[in-house]
Symmetry: C2
Subunit: 236 residues, 2 copies
DNA sequence: GAGTGGTCTAGACCACTTC
DNA sequence: AAGTGGTCTAGACCACTCT
């Protein structure tokens, strides 16, 4: 099977154009109908090719807006550098955080177990969007123990939570447990990220403890998979 | 936009069947034509629905063989437990490793930089397949410094490399640096994993150093994304 | 309002797996 | 040999974005 299909041909050609710099980060690709015609394929086949490029993280799709060239991935070291703004700035990008929602909610069984509190204990819930260069790349849901950082909801949460914890409550992260799942976006998250339901994503679950070993918060981060490279170390 | 499309309807229904246990891990789904007819949709739409389920990691596609129910993910802690056989056994699965290729090759610029040797230095190259319960879930390419473990290629590499290092060469891993990319499979790897070019995958790059800080090997692991949950810790 | 992307149909042909 | 998945076509209609 060394025959190259049409979808693969388009993938190879676009990949080449992207690597050679003919297309630059942030550029919008021509319309699907135009591209399909230039490759002499049907729109379905063209979209297959585009999807392959997107799976590699070289382009991404903005819902109903078209296909765009993805910027280089940002190095994300969740175990040692949980500060989004510092991370993006260091990589030469413009970070932004927008709080979509902050409420007090009763802990579900799952959340209660993670936070090490009783079910239905009231906890803070935050939903925030992370931007790099005006593109929403991450939607983060945080469940925070109210007893650890009372009054959190009165703070401006459009910056770094670690800074708030430290400056307002004198709390610093100790151990951080991280789980990582390649998965797909549900409708709500997809909408927030201006992309489509089912778009492939990286789900990072973080359980953050204080220096005293007590759980501070539990976070679900839904990342556009093309935006980051996750890095960490182990061993001695 | 609260209208649920056909693809999504199929996704929801199959997800429900999988969670309820009507379909069990390893089961083959009915043929696409049969499913399309039962949902009263075209094959293209049916495949869209199947793809969404696969993106969640609940089913997977075996090239030309059909769609199968995926077993639960195995916890993979690359930073502290690099032993595949132990990991899978602990999770109740049957692990297997098959060496596809072992050769001596000159280091390319990239590989030389990672291994901290001169370009074109001769290094060991291994390509191995990892199985869980007879399903190939990972294709691993290793570049090993010959000066660290001379004679490695004469060993049976169908087991754990860390054990060989330790028992034959008295070498133990010290620091491990890990990078993680959600990406898509190329043709060669896809073929080895009995899946299709472009299937979404998790690429894990590991740089393994000895206790003396010298690089021992550099490994590229291509994982079927549904097979594992990556876990690690950080902080104090 | 024009153009575009999102979704879907109803076929087709081939190569491969399975029986 | 039959059935299946892999790939592709040539349309269609709608809802949304863009200008």
């Amino acid at each position: 099977m060394s025959v190259v299909g049409q979808g693969q041909r388009i993938f190879l050609d676009l990949t080449q154009q992207l690597r050679s710099g003919e297309l630059k980060p942030g550029d919008k690709l021509p319309s699907e109908r135009f591209l399909a015609e230039s490759y002499h394929v049907s729109r379905a086949t063209l979209r297959d090719g585009l999807q392959r490029v997107a799976d590699q993280g070289l382009i991404y799709r903005a819902n109903r807006r078209g296909w765009f060239v993805a910027p280089p991935r940002v190095r994300y070291q969740p175990a040692i550098e949980p500060n989004f703004h510092q991370m993006v700035s260091a990589a030469g990008g413009r970070p932004k955080t927008q709080t979509l929602e902050k409420r007090i909610v009763p802990a579900t069984a799952t959340i209660a177990a993670m936070l090490d509190v009783d079910e239905n204990t009231l906890v803070f819930y935050l939903r925030r969007l992370r931007y790099i260069d005006d593109r929403a790349v991450c939607c983060a849901e945080s469940y925070v123990r109210a007893d650890q950082v009372p009054g959190l909801l009165d703070c401006n949460t459009d910056g770094s939570m670690t800074e708030i914890y430290q400056q307002q409550f004198n709390k610093t992260y100790g151990k951080i447990d991280i789980q990582l799942y390649p998965t797909a976006l549900n409708q709500q998250i997809a909408e927030a990220l201006l992309t489509v339901e089912g778009a492939s994503a990286l789900l990072i679950k973080r359980l953050n403890k204080g220096l005293d070993g007590q759980v501070i918060d539990y976070e679900l981060e839904w990342w556009c998979h093309d935006a980051i490279t996750v890095c960490f170390s182990g061993g001695v």
